[in-house]
Symmetry: C2
Subunit: 326 residues, 2 copies
Protein backbone atom coordinates (compact mmCIF):
# COMPACT_ATOMS: atom_id res chain seq x y z
CA UNK A 1 0.00 0.00 0.00
CA UNK A 2 1.36 3.44 -0.94
CA UNK A 3 0.90 5.95 1.82
CA UNK A 4 1.31 9.69 1.60
CA UNK A 5 4.46 10.45 3.58
CA UNK A 6 3.00 13.57 5.16
CA UNK A 7 -0.43 12.30 6.23
CA UNK A 8 -0.14 8.67 7.33
CA UNK A 9 0.23 8.46 11.10
CA UNK A 10 2.96 5.94 11.88
CA UNK A 11 2.11 3.04 14.18
CA UNK A 12 4.20 0.91 16.52
CA UNK A 13 4.71 -1.65 13.74
CA UNK A 14 6.30 1.06 11.58
CA UNK A 15 8.76 1.86 14.37
CA UNK A 16 9.59 -1.84 14.77
CA UNK A 17 10.11 -2.19 11.00
CA UNK A 18 12.33 0.90 11.06
CA UNK A 19 14.45 -0.57 13.80
CA UNK A 20 15.02 -3.77 11.85
CA UNK A 21 15.80 -1.79 8.70
CA UNK A 22 18.35 0.64 10.15
CA UNK A 23 20.01 -1.25 13.01
CA UNK A 24 23.10 -2.32 11.09
CA UNK A 25 23.62 1.24 9.75
CA UNK A 26 23.44 3.17 13.01
CA UNK A 27 25.16 3.26 16.39
CA UNK A 28 23.28 2.01 19.41
CA UNK A 29 24.40 5.17 21.17
CA UNK A 30 25.56 5.04 24.78
CA UNK A 31 23.72 6.48 27.77
CA UNK A 32 25.96 8.73 29.87
CA UNK A 33 25.39 9.94 33.40
CA UNK A 34 27.01 12.70 35.45
CA UNK A 35 27.21 12.81 39.20
CA UNK A 36 27.69 16.58 39.04
CA UNK A 37 24.63 17.20 36.85
CA UNK A 38 22.54 14.92 39.06
CA UNK A 39 23.67 16.99 42.02
CA UNK A 40 22.85 20.26 40.28
CA UNK A 41 19.34 19.16 39.24
CA UNK A 42 18.36 16.86 42.08
CA UNK A 43 17.26 14.36 39.44
CA UNK A 44 18.83 11.21 38.06
CA UNK A 45 19.60 12.05 34.47
CA UNK A 46 20.28 9.55 31.70
CA UNK A 47 21.66 11.20 28.60
CA UNK A 48 21.05 9.30 25.38
CA UNK A 49 24.06 10.48 23.39
CA UNK A 50 22.88 10.87 19.82
CA UNK A 51 25.72 13.33 19.30
CA UNK A 52 27.75 10.13 18.81
CA UNK A 53 25.25 8.90 16.20
CA UNK A 54 26.32 8.43 12.56
CA UNK A 55 26.66 11.86 10.95
CA UNK A 56 26.53 13.40 14.42
CA UNK A 57 22.79 13.46 15.09
CA UNK A 58 19.68 11.36 15.79
CA UNK A 59 18.35 12.39 12.40
CA UNK A 60 20.43 9.63 10.84
CA UNK A 61 17.72 7.28 12.15
CA UNK A 62 14.80 8.87 10.34
CA UNK A 63 16.80 9.60 7.21
CA UNK A 64 18.04 6.01 6.94
CA UNK A 65 14.58 4.62 7.50
CA UNK A 66 13.19 6.82 4.73
CA UNK A 67 16.01 6.19 2.22
CA UNK A 68 16.42 2.46 2.80
CA UNK A 69 12.65 1.97 2.59
CA UNK A 70 12.29 3.59 -0.85
CA UNK A 71 11.32 1.42 -3.81
CA UNK A 72 13.80 1.33 -6.71
CA UNK A 73 11.38 3.57 -8.61
CA UNK A 74 11.22 6.15 -5.78
CA UNK A 75 14.99 6.13 -5.30
CA UNK A 76 15.83 6.58 -8.97
CA UNK A 77 16.21 10.37 -8.98
CA UNK A 78 17.74 10.59 -5.55
CA UNK A 79 16.36 12.43 -2.53
CA UNK A 80 16.07 16.07 -1.54
CA UNK A 81 15.14 18.04 1.52
CA UNK A 82 15.26 21.39 3.23
CA UNK A 83 16.87 21.46 6.63
CA UNK A 84 18.38 23.85 9.12
CA UNK A 85 21.25 21.44 9.37
CA UNK A 86 21.31 17.94 10.76
CA UNK A 87 18.55 16.41 8.67
CA UNK A 88 20.40 17.57 5.57
CA UNK A 89 23.65 16.00 6.73
CA UNK A 90 21.92 12.82 7.78
CA UNK A 91 19.85 12.46 4.63
CA UNK A 92 23.04 12.89 2.59
CA UNK A 93 24.70 10.25 4.74
CA UNK A 94 21.77 7.89 4.22
CA UNK A 95 21.66 8.55 0.47
CA UNK A 96 25.36 7.74 0.34
CA UNK A 97 24.72 4.35 1.97
CA UNK A 98 22.27 3.59 -0.83
CA UNK A 99 24.38 5.20 -3.53
CA UNK A 100 21.84 7.79 -4.67
CA UNK A 101 22.28 11.59 -4.93
CA UNK A 102 20.98 14.06 -2.35
CA UNK A 103 20.22 17.79 -2.59
CA UNK A 104 19.77 19.91 0.51
CA UNK A 105 18.28 23.40 0.68
CA UNK A 106 19.81 25.20 3.67
CA UNK A 107 19.49 28.72 5.08
CA UNK A 108 22.58 30.72 4.15
CA UNK A 109 22.91 31.49 7.88
CA UNK A 110 23.23 27.80 8.86
CA UNK A 111 26.53 26.94 10.59
CA UNK A 112 29.36 26.46 8.10
CA UNK A 113 30.11 23.17 9.85
CA UNK A 114 26.72 21.85 8.76
CA UNK A 115 27.12 22.98 5.15
CA UNK A 116 30.58 21.41 5.05
CA UNK A 117 29.21 18.19 6.49
CA UNK A 118 26.64 17.82 3.69
CA UNK A 119 29.34 18.44 1.10
CA UNK A 120 31.71 16.11 2.93
CA UNK A 121 29.21 13.27 2.57
CA UNK A 122 28.85 14.01 -1.13
CA UNK A 123 25.62 16.04 -1.07
CA UNK A 124 24.70 19.20 -2.96
CA UNK A 125 23.85 22.35 -0.95
CA UNK A 126 21.47 25.02 -2.30
CA UNK A 127 21.18 28.11 -0.10
CA UNK A 128 17.99 30.00 0.76
CA UNK A 129 17.08 32.86 3.07
CA UNK A 130 16.64 32.01 6.78
CA UNK A 131 12.86 31.94 6.70
CA UNK A 132 10.36 29.15 6.30
CA UNK A 133 8.79 30.88 3.30
CA UNK A 134 12.08 31.22 1.37
CA UNK A 135 13.13 27.71 2.22
CA UNK A 136 9.90 26.24 0.90
CA UNK A 137 9.91 28.18 -2.36
CA UNK A 138 13.56 27.45 -3.17
CA UNK A 139 12.94 23.81 -2.37
CA UNK A 140 9.99 23.58 -4.77
CA UNK A 141 12.35 24.64 -7.57
CA UNK A 142 14.85 21.94 -6.64
CA UNK A 143 12.26 19.20 -6.72
CA UNK A 144 10.87 20.42 -10.04
CA UNK A 145 14.39 20.37 -11.49
CA UNK A 146 15.62 17.01 -10.17
CA UNK A 147 12.53 14.89 -9.71
CA UNK A 148 14.06 13.81 -6.39
CA UNK A 149 12.00 12.09 -3.69
CA UNK A 150 11.22 14.59 -0.96
CA UNK A 151 12.09 13.47 2.56
CA UNK A 152 10.73 16.14 4.87
CA UNK A 153 12.84 16.65 8.00
CA UNK A 154 9.94 15.68 10.27
CA UNK A 155 6.49 15.84 8.71
CA UNK A 156 7.01 12.39 7.24
CA UNK A 157 5.85 9.10 8.75
CA UNK A 158 9.06 7.34 7.64
CA UNK A 159 11.19 9.90 9.46
CA UNK A 160 9.09 9.80 12.64
CA UNK A 161 9.18 5.99 12.68
CA UNK A 162 12.98 6.19 12.37
CA UNK A 163 13.32 8.68 15.23
CA UNK A 164 11.13 6.37 17.32
CA UNK A 165 13.99 3.85 17.44
CA UNK A 166 15.97 6.14 19.75
CA UNK A 167 13.66 5.89 22.76
CA UNK A 168 13.14 2.19 22.03
CA UNK A 169 16.87 1.76 22.74
CA UNK A 170 16.74 4.11 25.72
CA UNK A 171 14.09 2.12 27.59
CA UNK A 172 16.15 -1.04 27.03
CA UNK A 173 19.24 0.71 28.38
CA UNK A 174 17.66 2.37 31.45
CA UNK A 175 15.06 0.89 33.79
CA UNK A 176 12.34 2.75 35.59
CA UNK A 177 12.34 6.09 33.82
CA UNK A 178 9.70 8.55 35.02
CA UNK A 179 10.06 11.01 32.16
CA UNK A 180 11.89 11.71 28.92
CA UNK A 181 12.77 15.23 27.81
CA UNK A 182 13.67 16.08 24.23
CA UNK A 183 14.09 19.37 22.42
CA UNK A 184 11.29 20.43 20.09
CA UNK A 185 11.68 22.22 16.78
CA UNK A 186 9.53 20.67 14.08
CA UNK A 187 8.72 17.87 16.48
CA UNK A 188 10.20 14.82 14.74
CA UNK A 189 12.13 13.49 17.73
CA UNK A 190 9.30 14.28 20.14
CA UNK A 191 6.83 12.51 17.84
CA UNK A 192 9.04 9.44 17.54
CA UNK A 193 9.47 9.43 21.32
CA UNK A 194 5.69 9.64 21.81
CA UNK A 195 5.15 6.88 19.26
CA UNK A 196 7.45 4.49 21.12
CA UNK A 197 6.61 5.38 24.69
CA UNK A 198 2.83 5.63 24.30
CA UNK A 199 2.92 2.05 23.04
CA UNK A 200 5.72 0.42 25.02
CA UNK A 201 5.97 2.45 28.23
CA UNK A 202 2.91 4.68 28.55
CA UNK A 203 3.69 5.52 32.21
CA UNK A 204 6.77 7.53 31.09
CA UNK A 205 5.86 11.19 30.61
CA UNK A 206 7.20 13.02 27.56
CA UNK A 207 8.25 16.66 27.95
CA UNK A 208 9.24 18.92 25.08
CA UNK A 209 11.86 21.62 25.72
CA UNK A 210 11.97 24.73 23.55
CA UNK A 211 13.79 28.07 23.32
CA UNK A 212 11.65 31.02 24.48
CA UNK A 213 12.75 32.82 21.34
CA UNK A 214 11.30 30.09 19.12
CA UNK A 215 8.36 29.10 21.32
CA UNK A 216 5.84 28.27 18.61
CA UNK A 217 5.37 24.71 19.92
CA UNK A 218 4.69 26.06 23.42
CA UNK A 219 2.13 28.52 22.09
CA UNK A 220 0.58 25.87 19.85
CA UNK A 221 0.33 23.45 22.77
CA UNK A 222 -1.42 26.03 24.94
CA UNK A 223 -3.69 27.26 22.11
CA UNK A 224 -4.67 23.83 20.87
CA UNK A 225 -3.76 24.48 17.24
CA UNK A 226 -0.53 24.98 15.24
CA UNK A 227 1.02 28.44 15.50
CA UNK A 228 4.04 28.98 13.23
CA UNK A 229 6.68 31.73 13.23
CA UNK A 230 8.41 32.56 9.99
CA UNK A 231 11.96 33.31 11.14
CA UNK A 232 12.61 33.01 14.87
CA UNK A 233 16.08 33.90 16.18
CA UNK A 234 17.72 31.50 18.62
CA UNK A 235 21.13 30.04 19.23
CA UNK A 236 19.46 26.60 19.05
CA UNK A 237 19.56 26.59 15.27
CA UNK A 238 18.01 23.14 14.99
CA UNK A 239 14.79 24.29 16.68
CA UNK A 240 13.60 27.15 14.50
CA UNK A 241 11.12 25.25 12.36
CA UNK A 242 7.37 25.03 13.08
CA UNK A 243 5.18 22.05 13.89
CA UNK A 244 3.37 20.39 10.99
CA UNK A 245 0.22 18.25 11.02
CA UNK A 246 1.90 14.88 11.65
CA UNK A 247 4.05 16.09 14.52
CA UNK A 248 1.17 18.16 15.88
CA UNK A 249 -0.82 14.94 16.12
CA UNK A 250 1.77 13.45 18.49
CA UNK A 251 2.47 16.66 20.40
CA UNK A 252 -1.19 17.42 21.02
CA UNK A 253 -2.08 13.85 22.00
CA UNK A 254 0.92 12.55 23.92
CA UNK A 255 3.13 15.33 25.26
CA UNK A 256 2.67 16.11 28.96
CA UNK A 257 3.94 19.68 28.70
CA UNK A 258 6.22 22.05 26.78
CA UNK A 259 8.83 23.96 28.82
CA UNK A 260 10.64 27.01 27.48
CA UNK A 261 14.07 28.41 28.35
CA UNK A 262 16.00 31.59 27.62
CA UNK A 263 19.05 31.89 25.38
CA UNK A 264 21.27 32.38 28.43
CA UNK A 265 19.82 29.29 30.10
CA UNK A 266 20.61 27.30 26.95
CA UNK A 267 24.21 28.55 26.88
CA UNK A 268 24.67 27.84 30.59
CA UNK A 269 23.34 24.29 30.21
CA UNK A 270 25.50 23.70 27.15
CA UNK A 271 28.61 24.75 29.04
CA UNK A 272 27.70 22.50 31.96
CA UNK A 273 27.36 19.51 29.63
CA UNK A 274 30.67 20.29 27.90
CA UNK A 275 32.36 20.75 31.24
CA UNK A 276 31.04 17.81 33.22
CA UNK A 277 30.14 15.27 30.56
CA UNK A 278 33.08 16.00 28.22
CA UNK A 279 30.83 15.71 25.21
CA UNK A 280 30.47 18.09 22.30
CA UNK A 281 26.80 18.95 21.92
CA UNK A 282 25.13 21.61 19.85
CA UNK A 283 22.99 24.30 21.48
CA UNK A 284 19.68 22.55 20.66
CA UNK A 285 20.84 19.57 22.71
CA UNK A 286 21.26 21.71 25.81
CA UNK A 287 17.65 22.88 25.81
CA UNK A 288 16.33 19.82 27.74
CA UNK A 289 18.91 20.20 30.54
CA UNK A 290 18.10 23.91 30.73
CA UNK A 291 14.41 23.02 31.11
CA UNK A 292 15.17 20.42 33.78
CA UNK A 293 17.27 22.91 35.77
CA UNK A 294 14.52 25.50 35.51
CA UNK A 295 11.75 23.15 36.71
CA UNK A 296 12.88 21.23 39.79
CA UNK A 297 9.24 20.91 40.89
CA UNK A 298 8.69 18.64 37.88
CA UNK A 299 11.98 16.77 37.66
CA UNK A 300 13.71 16.65 41.07
CA UNK A 301 13.75 13.16 42.53
CA UNK A 302 12.80 11.63 39.18
CA UNK A 303 14.62 9.33 36.78
CA UNK A 304 14.74 11.35 33.60
CA UNK A 305 15.89 10.35 30.11
CA UNK A 306 17.37 13.23 28.13
CA UNK A 307 17.73 13.02 24.37
CA UNK A 308 21.07 14.59 23.40
CA UNK A 309 20.10 15.24 19.82
CA UNK A 310 23.36 16.16 18.12
CA UNK A 311 26.92 17.39 18.23
CA UNK A 312 27.29 19.34 15.01
CA UNK A 313 28.50 22.67 16.32
CA UNK A 314 30.94 25.08 14.73
CA UNK A 315 33.79 24.93 17.24
CA UNK A 316 35.32 28.07 15.76
CA UNK A 317 32.21 30.03 16.67
CA UNK A 318 31.07 29.03 20.13
CA UNK A 319 28.12 30.86 21.63
CA UNK A 320 30.04 31.94 24.71
CA UNK A 321 32.91 33.48 22.75
CA UNK A 322 32.81 37.27 22.89
CA UNK A 323 30.63 38.86 20.24
CA UNK A 324 28.97 35.66 19.10
CA UNK A 325 25.96 35.73 21.42
CA UNK A 326 22.67 36.10 19.58
CA UNK B 1 56.71 -5.43 53.07
CA UNK B 2 57.08 -1.63 52.95
CA UNK B 3 58.41 -0.43 49.65
CA UNK B 4 59.70 3.00 48.79
CA UNK B 5 57.08 4.48 46.48
CA UNK B 6 59.67 6.02 44.19
CA UNK B 7 62.08 3.13 43.74
CA UNK B 8 60.14 -0.14 43.68
CA UNK B 9 59.46 -1.21 40.10
CA UNK B 10 55.85 -2.37 39.89
CA UNK B 11 55.16 -5.85 38.55
CA UNK B 12 52.20 -7.39 36.78
CA UNK B 13 50.81 -8.57 40.13
CA UNK B 14 50.73 -4.95 41.32
CA UNK B 15 48.68 -3.97 38.28
CA UNK B 16 46.29 -6.85 38.89
CA UNK B 17 45.92 -5.87 42.55
CA UNK B 18 45.31 -2.29 41.48
CA UNK B 19 42.57 -3.38 39.15
CA UNK B 20 40.78 -5.28 41.88
CA UNK B 21 41.19 -2.38 44.29
CA UNK B 22 39.88 0.42 42.06
CA UNK B 23 37.36 -1.26 39.74
CA UNK B 24 34.26 -0.27 41.68
CA UNK B 25 35.46 3.35 41.94
CA UNK B 26 36.25 4.01 38.28
CA UNK B 27 34.51 3.89 34.92
CA UNK B 28 35.43 1.16 32.50
CA UNK B 29 35.69 3.86 29.85
CA UNK B 30 34.35 3.23 26.35
CA UNK B 31 36.42 2.83 23.21
CA UNK B 32 35.27 5.14 20.42
CA UNK B 33 36.05 4.93 16.73
CA UNK B 34 35.68 7.42 13.91
CA UNK B 35 35.28 6.54 10.26
CA UNK B 36 36.53 10.02 9.33
CA UNK B 37 39.69 9.83 11.44
CA UNK B 38 40.41 6.34 10.10
CA UNK B 39 40.09 7.78 6.61
CA UNK B 40 42.40 10.69 7.41
CA UNK B 41 45.12 8.50 8.94
CA UNK B 42 44.79 5.32 6.92
CA UNK B 43 44.88 3.44 10.23
CA UNK B 44 42.16 1.82 12.33
CA UNK B 45 42.10 3.88 15.48
CA UNK B 46 40.59 2.82 18.79
CA UNK B 47 40.29 5.71 21.21
CA UNK B 48 40.22 4.72 24.88
CA UNK B 49 38.17 7.61 26.26
CA UNK B 50 39.66 8.42 29.64
CA UNK B 51 38.22 11.91 29.26
CA UNK B 52 35.04 10.20 30.50
CA UNK B 53 36.92 8.79 33.51
CA UNK B 54 36.00 9.88 37.06
CA UNK B 55 37.33 13.40 37.62
CA UNK B 56 37.87 13.68 33.86
CA UNK B 57 41.22 11.91 33.44
CA UNK B 58 43.03 8.57 33.56
CA UNK B 59 44.91 9.78 36.60
CA UNK B 60 41.92 8.79 38.74
CA UNK B 61 43.23 5.24 38.31
CA UNK B 62 46.67 5.79 39.80
CA UNK B 63 45.42 8.18 42.46
CA UNK B 64 42.74 5.75 43.64
CA UNK B 65 45.19 2.87 43.72
CA UNK B 66 47.58 4.90 45.84
CA UNK B 67 44.98 6.31 48.24
CA UNK B 68 42.92 3.15 48.71
CA UNK B 69 46.08 1.14 49.30
CA UNK B 70 47.37 3.32 52.16
CA UNK B 71 47.48 1.88 55.66
CA UNK B 72 45.44 3.71 58.31
CA UNK B 73 48.71 5.08 59.64
CA UNK B 74 49.79 6.42 56.24
CA UNK B 75 46.38 7.92 55.53
CA UNK B 76 46.09 9.71 58.88
CA UNK B 77 47.44 13.12 57.78
CA UNK B 78 45.93 13.01 54.33
CA UNK B 79 47.76 13.12 51.02
CA UNK B 80 49.55 15.82 49.07
CA UNK B 81 51.04 16.22 45.65
CA UNK B 82 52.28 18.65 43.05
CA UNK B 83 50.63 18.50 39.67
CA UNK B 84 50.14 20.52 36.52
CA UNK B 85 46.51 19.63 36.79
CA UNK B 86 44.80 16.28 36.44
CA UNK B 87 46.75 14.35 39.04
CA UNK B 88 45.83 17.03 41.56
CA UNK B 89 42.15 16.80 40.68
CA UNK B 90 42.21 13.03 40.68
CA UNK B 91 44.13 12.69 43.95
CA UNK B 92 41.63 15.03 45.56
CA UNK B 93 38.83 12.92 44.14
CA UNK B 94 40.45 9.75 45.49
CA UNK B 95 41.09 11.31 48.90
CA UNK B 96 37.42 12.29 49.03
CA UNK B 97 36.40 8.67 48.45
CA UNK B 98 38.43 7.72 51.51
CA UNK B 99 37.45 10.78 53.52
CA UNK B 100 40.96 12.18 54.03
CA UNK B 101 42.26 15.68 53.20
CA UNK B 102 44.32 16.49 50.11
CA UNK B 103 46.66 19.39 49.34
CA UNK B 104 47.79 20.14 45.78
CA UNK B 105 50.66 22.41 44.75
CA UNK B 106 49.86 23.80 41.28
CA UNK B 107 51.59 26.26 38.97
CA UNK B 108 49.78 29.61 39.13
CA UNK B 109 49.55 29.36 35.32
CA UNK B 110 47.57 26.10 35.39
CA UNK B 111 44.13 26.34 33.77
CA UNK B 112 41.56 27.88 36.11
CA UNK B 113 39.29 24.91 35.29
CA UNK B 114 41.83 22.58 36.93
CA UNK B 115 42.24 24.72 40.04
CA UNK B 116 38.46 24.95 40.38
CA UNK B 117 38.16 21.19 39.96
CA UNK B 118 40.50 20.52 42.92
CA UNK B 119 38.54 22.96 45.06
CA UNK B 120 35.27 21.51 43.82
CA UNK B 121 36.27 18.08 45.10
CA UNK B 122 37.19 19.59 48.46
CA UNK B 123 40.95 19.88 48.03
CA UNK B 124 43.31 22.68 49.01
CA UNK B 125 45.31 24.44 46.25
CA UNK B 126 48.71 26.04 46.95
CA UNK B 127 50.19 27.94 44.01
CA UNK B 128 53.81 27.89 42.84
CA UNK B 129 55.72 29.29 39.88
CA UNK B 130 55.48 27.35 36.60
CA UNK B 131 58.85 25.64 36.92
CA UNK B 132 59.89 22.27 38.25
CA UNK B 133 62.24 23.88 40.74
CA UNK B 134 59.61 26.17 42.27
CA UNK B 135 57.06 23.40 42.40
CA UNK B 136 59.40 21.09 44.26
CA UNK B 137 60.48 23.66 46.85
CA UNK B 138 56.93 24.86 47.59
CA UNK B 139 55.84 21.26 47.89
CA UNK B 140 58.53 20.44 50.43
CA UNK B 141 57.10 23.17 52.68
CA UNK B 142 53.60 21.71 52.38
CA UNK B 143 54.72 18.24 53.40
CA UNK B 144 56.72 19.62 56.32
CA UNK B 145 53.66 21.53 57.51
CA UNK B 146 50.97 18.84 57.09
CA UNK B 147 52.77 15.51 57.46
CA UNK B 148 50.70 14.36 54.48
CA UNK B 149 51.59 11.23 52.50
CA UNK B 150 53.21 12.23 49.22
CA UNK B 151 51.68 10.69 46.13
CA UNK B 152 53.90 11.71 43.24
CA UNK B 153 52.02 12.21 39.94
CA UNK B 154 54.02 9.47 38.23
CA UNK B 155 57.30 8.52 39.90
CA UNK B 156 55.41 6.22 42.25
CA UNK B 157 54.87 2.48 41.81
CA UNK B 158 51.31 2.71 43.17
CA UNK B 159 50.41 5.32 40.57
CA UNK B 160 52.02 3.42 37.68
CA UNK B 161 50.26 0.20 38.71
CA UNK B 162 46.98 2.13 38.72
CA UNK B 163 47.55 3.61 35.26
CA UNK B 164 48.36 0.09 34.03
CA UNK B 165 44.69 -0.83 34.45
CA UNK B 166 43.75 1.35 31.47
CA UNK B 167 45.50 -0.71 28.80
CA UNK B 168 44.39 -3.90 30.57
CA UNK B 169 40.83 -2.82 29.77
CA UNK B 170 41.76 -1.71 26.27
CA UNK B 171 43.11 -5.09 25.20
CA UNK B 172 39.93 -6.72 26.50
CA UNK B 173 37.83 -4.25 24.51
CA UNK B 174 39.77 -4.39 21.21
CA UNK B 175 41.28 -7.44 19.56
CA UNK B 176 44.41 -7.57 17.48
CA UNK B 177 46.01 -4.22 18.24
CA UNK B 178 49.38 -3.63 16.56
CA UNK B 179 50.33 -0.57 18.59
CA UNK B 180 49.23 1.74 21.39
CA UNK B 181 50.06 5.44 21.39
CA UNK B 182 49.89 7.56 24.54
CA UNK B 183 51.09 11.06 25.31
CA UNK B 184 54.21 11.37 27.43
CA UNK B 185 54.88 13.98 30.07
CA UNK B 186 56.34 12.48 33.21
CA UNK B 187 55.65 9.05 31.76
CA UNK B 188 53.10 7.60 34.18
CA UNK B 189 50.57 6.46 31.58
CA UNK B 190 53.28 5.24 29.23
CA UNK B 191 54.87 3.28 32.09
CA UNK B 192 51.57 1.71 33.09
CA UNK B 193 50.91 0.85 29.46
CA UNK B 194 54.35 -0.79 29.17
CA UNK B 195 53.79 -2.66 32.42
CA UNK B 196 50.56 -4.21 31.16
CA UNK B 197 51.46 -4.80 27.54
CA UNK B 198 54.97 -6.16 28.10
CA UNK B 199 53.39 -8.82 30.30
CA UNK B 200 50.03 -9.52 28.69
CA UNK B 201 50.48 -8.57 25.02
CA UNK B 202 54.18 -8.11 24.28
CA UNK B 203 53.60 -8.07 20.51
CA UNK B 204 51.82 -4.68 20.81
CA UNK B 205 54.26 -1.84 20.29
CA UNK B 206 54.10 1.16 22.61
CA UNK B 207 54.73 4.62 21.14
CA UNK B 208 55.04 7.80 23.19
CA UNK B 209 53.84 11.08 21.66
CA UNK B 210 55.27 14.37 22.85
CA UNK B 211 55.12 18.10 22.03
CA UNK B 212 58.26 19.35 20.23
CA UNK B 213 58.29 22.25 22.65
CA UNK B 214 58.52 19.89 25.63
CA UNK B 215 60.57 17.13 23.99
CA UNK B 216 62.65 16.07 26.99
CA UNK B 217 61.42 12.46 26.76
CA UNK B 218 62.38 12.36 23.07
CA UNK B 219 65.86 13.67 23.82
CA UNK B 220 66.21 11.37 26.81
CA UNK B 221 65.17 8.38 24.72
CA UNK B 222 67.74 9.20 22.03
CA UNK B 223 70.51 10.04 24.53
CA UNK B 224 69.96 7.03 26.78
CA UNK B 225 69.66 9.00 29.99
CA UNK B 226 67.16 11.41 31.55
CA UNK B 227 67.26 14.95 30.24
CA UNK B 228 64.95 17.38 32.06
CA UNK B 229 63.82 20.88 31.12
CA UNK B 230 62.83 23.24 33.89
CA UNK B 231 59.93 25.15 32.34
CA UNK B 232 58.95 24.14 28.80
CA UNK B 233 56.14 26.06 27.09
CA UNK B 234 53.43 24.06 25.32
CA UNK B 235 49.69 24.14 24.94
CA UNK B 236 49.70 20.54 26.17
CA UNK B 237 49.86 21.62 29.78
CA UNK B 238 49.77 18.07 31.14
CA UNK B 239 53.02 17.16 29.39
CA UNK B 240 55.50 19.69 30.75
CA UNK B 241 57.04 17.57 33.48
CA UNK B 242 60.24 15.53 33.09
CA UNK B 243 60.83 11.79 33.30
CA UNK B 244 61.93 10.39 36.65
CA UNK B 245 63.80 7.15 37.42
CA UNK B 246 60.77 4.84 37.67
CA UNK B 247 59.17 6.02 34.44
CA UNK B 248 62.57 6.15 32.74
CA UNK B 249 62.91 2.46 33.54
CA UNK B 250 59.76 1.67 31.53
CA UNK B 251 60.42 4.18 28.75
CA UNK B 252 63.99 3.04 28.17
CA UNK B 253 63.14 -0.67 28.29
CA UNK B 254 59.75 -1.00 26.65
CA UNK B 255 58.91 1.98 24.43
CA UNK B 256 59.42 1.42 20.68
CA UNK B 257 59.86 5.10 19.86
CA UNK B 258 59.00 8.65 20.88
CA UNK B 259 57.36 10.87 18.24
CA UNK B 260 57.19 14.65 18.54
CA UNK B 261 54.66 17.11 17.11
CA UNK B 262 54.39 20.88 16.78
CA UNK B 263 51.94 23.09 18.65
CA UNK B 264 49.96 23.66 15.45
CA UNK B 265 49.78 19.92 14.83
CA UNK B 266 48.41 19.44 18.34
CA UNK B 267 45.74 22.10 17.83
CA UNK B 268 44.76 20.66 14.45
CA UNK B 269 44.44 17.15 15.89
CA UNK B 270 42.46 18.46 18.86
CA UNK B 271 40.00 20.20 16.55
CA UNK B 272 39.62 17.06 14.45
CA UNK B 273 38.78 15.01 17.55
CA UNK B 274 36.29 17.61 18.76
CA UNK B 275 34.74 17.82 15.32
CA UNK B 276 34.50 14.17 14.33
CA UNK B 277 34.37 12.34 17.65
CA UNK B 278 32.21 14.91 19.49
CA UNK B 279 34.30 14.50 22.61
CA UNK B 280 35.86 17.19 24.76
CA UNK B 281 39.55 16.43 25.11
CA UNK B 282 42.36 18.53 26.45
CA UNK B 283 45.36 19.45 24.27
CA UNK B 284 47.61 16.73 25.75
CA UNK B 285 45.12 14.12 24.55
CA UNK B 286 45.46 15.27 20.96
CA UNK B 287 49.22 14.67 20.85
CA UNK B 288 48.92 10.95 19.94
CA UNK B 289 46.58 11.61 17.00
CA UNK B 290 48.92 14.37 15.82
CA UNK B 291 51.80 11.88 15.94
CA UNK B 292 49.79 9.26 14.06
CA UNK B 293 48.87 11.75 11.33
CA UNK B 294 52.50 12.81 11.03
CA UNK B 295 53.84 9.27 10.71
CA UNK B 296 51.78 7.27 8.23
CA UNK B 297 54.81 5.08 7.50
CA UNK B 298 54.51 3.74 11.05
CA UNK B 299 50.78 3.66 11.58
CA UNK B 300 48.94 3.38 8.25
CA UNK B 301 47.27 0.00 7.82
CA UNK B 302 47.67 -0.79 11.53
CA UNK B 303 45.19 -1.27 14.36
CA UNK B 304 46.18 1.38 16.83
CA UNK B 305 44.97 2.02 20.36
CA UNK B 306 45.04 5.68 21.37
CA UNK B 307 44.88 6.71 25.00
CA UNK B 308 42.67 9.79 25.28
CA UNK B 309 44.07 10.91 28.57
CA UNK B 310 41.67 13.60 29.76
CA UNK B 311 39.01 16.19 29.07
CA UNK B 312 39.75 18.90 31.59
CA UNK B 313 40.04 21.92 29.33
CA UNK B 314 39.01 25.48 30.03
CA UNK B 315 36.22 25.89 27.47
CA UNK B 316 36.31 29.65 27.91
CA UNK B 317 39.90 29.71 26.70
CA UNK B 318 40.27 27.39 23.74
CA UNK B 319 43.62 27.24 21.97
CA UNK B 320 42.15 28.17 18.60
CA UNK B 321 40.39 31.28 19.91
CA UNK B 322 42.13 34.47 18.79
CA UNK B 323 44.95 35.58 21.03
CA UNK B 324 45.12 32.40 23.08
CA UNK B 325 47.69 30.53 21.01
CA UNK B 326 50.93 29.90 22.86
Amino acid sequence: MMMDASTYIPKLEDALTARERITSYIHRTPVHTSRMLNKLTGAQLFFKCENFQKAGAFKARGALNAVLGLSEQQARNGVATHSSGNHGTCLTYAAGRRGIPCTVVMPRTAPQAKKDAVKGYGGRVIECEPSTSSRESVFAEVVAETGAEFVHPYNDHRVIAGQATCSAELIEQVDGLDAVVAPIGGGGMISGTCLTLSNLAPHIKVYAAEPEQADDAYRSFKAGYIIADDAPVTIADGLKVPLKPLTWYFVSNYVTDVETVSEQEIIDAMKLMWKYMKVIIEPSSAVPLAAIMKNPRIFAGKRVGVIVTGGNVDIDKLPWARGDNP
